[in-house]
Symmetry: C2
Subunit: 277 residues, 2 copies
Amino acid sequence: MTSTTMDTGKSYHKQATGAAFETVQQHATDQDITLFAGCFCPFVQRVWVGLEYLEIPYKVYEVDPYKKPQELLELSPKGLVPALRLNGYVPPRALNESTVILEYLEDLASTSTKRSLLPPLSDPYARALVRLQSDHANRTLVPAFYRYLQAQDPDAQIAGGKEFLDAVETLVGLFERADVEVGGTGLWKEGGELGLADILVGPWLFRATNVLKHYRGLELPRGPKFDGWLNRLFQHPAFKCTCSTEELYLDSYERYAFNRPNTSQVANAINAGRGLP
Amino acid sequence: MTSTTMDTGKSYHKQATGAAFETVQQHATDQDITLFAGCFCPFVQRVWVGLEYLEIPYKVYEVDPYKKPQELLELSPKGLVPALRLNGYVPPRALNESTVILEYLEDLASTSTKRSLLPPLSDPYARALVRLQSDHANRTLVPAFYRYLQAQDPDAQIAGGKEFLDAVETLVGLFERADVEVGGTGLWKEGGELGLADILVGPWLFRATNVLKHYRGLELPRGPKFDGWLNRLFQHPAFKCTCSTEELYLDSYERYAFNRPNTSQVANAINAGRGLP
């Protein structure tokens, strides 16, 4: 699980490719919601999948997150994507933080498209189990991904790989608990539908299958239930249409894999032993 | 803002005092929900205030969080308080993580007591502003509290104080934004009611007025709006009835203030530059 590739100096991409490129093209006209996006950013992908699944109209505005346009800085104090501009207000309003935006979209859909990323309000315990999964994804699995990818010496890479796989295993344990206690949640349940936890964790597991595999030799756990879940997630129309081609991810994450200075605010926070920005 | 007190070797308390002691006594009979509590723990206080405000029946079970009873370990994988045991199920079910529990209580109240910690679903943007405040409290302000309190050398204490006060200032900025954009949220709004962000941040601001003041000489910012908010929060019946006497907090946090080894899982995570457990 150690890296054998060399830093070739590749730069990040600024425009989506493949299926994601098509989706950007289809969302080029003005709407009440503008999504400020960066093509390789997994936090952006969360919101993008949410918009698609909840069937909320939106326009995509792809920005270079390292050459932040003034329009983005006006929306997001840290200049981070994803950010939403809500054009229905005068002056327009703004939201940032992927988890906050997803909860907003969930609330919005509850009175418009009637779609939802959570079990129904009549089952608060099932909703709580999804929130436990989501909390684990945010606070443990996602930081472990970056610590692993940014680890440079072999011992740290081995420890990082173990930590990331432990986080995946704990997530699976939470999914299995939901099977036993409420008959399953999200896509882990065969025949289930895309849910909040699937969306919150999906972009990093997707990058585990390309970026971590390429730069760290990671193999995700195998098994019929896990494979079935990953397959349902990655093939879900709302997820699939936000994915670029593999080359985009490999190129864009080379900076992280070699822990180049000033790779991103996320990378800096991990290097400093701080929470994600 | 540097510490001048000496480590006198005081131990943490195991039982609430003052108003909180009375409240424990009043919640000693079996209910569908048992709250596993530790008397000085701010994460516990969040849930406790939520139960009180939402008027959900509960029993309090005070545990020594460092001599975890088997009953707690069965509920909470990390052995952390707060945990809920849901006695209405056979076998009983469990929930942990203060933020997850609060969302659960919010969902539960929506179909029972009809009380709520959030703006109505008809105003998704106002709800999102409260979630932005909450996200900031969880990810920035709370870790800053511990980094500051555990900092030992004077430079680190000065940096810690600045970081904590910056986090308070950012929170105030988010409250002010809600004033402008949606006419105010939670108790920041004069005449408002206790809200999710007030509860999520309240226990640490309360400990800022006793623990940080005593061990670090911290003075919170002053001003009519800030003072008014703090006063409404600390005097709110649902908050006040969960507060012990000052001595309990000063004694219980001495371990943190001198960063004694093995103070807690929270302290260890901060020392290791990791997210909170």
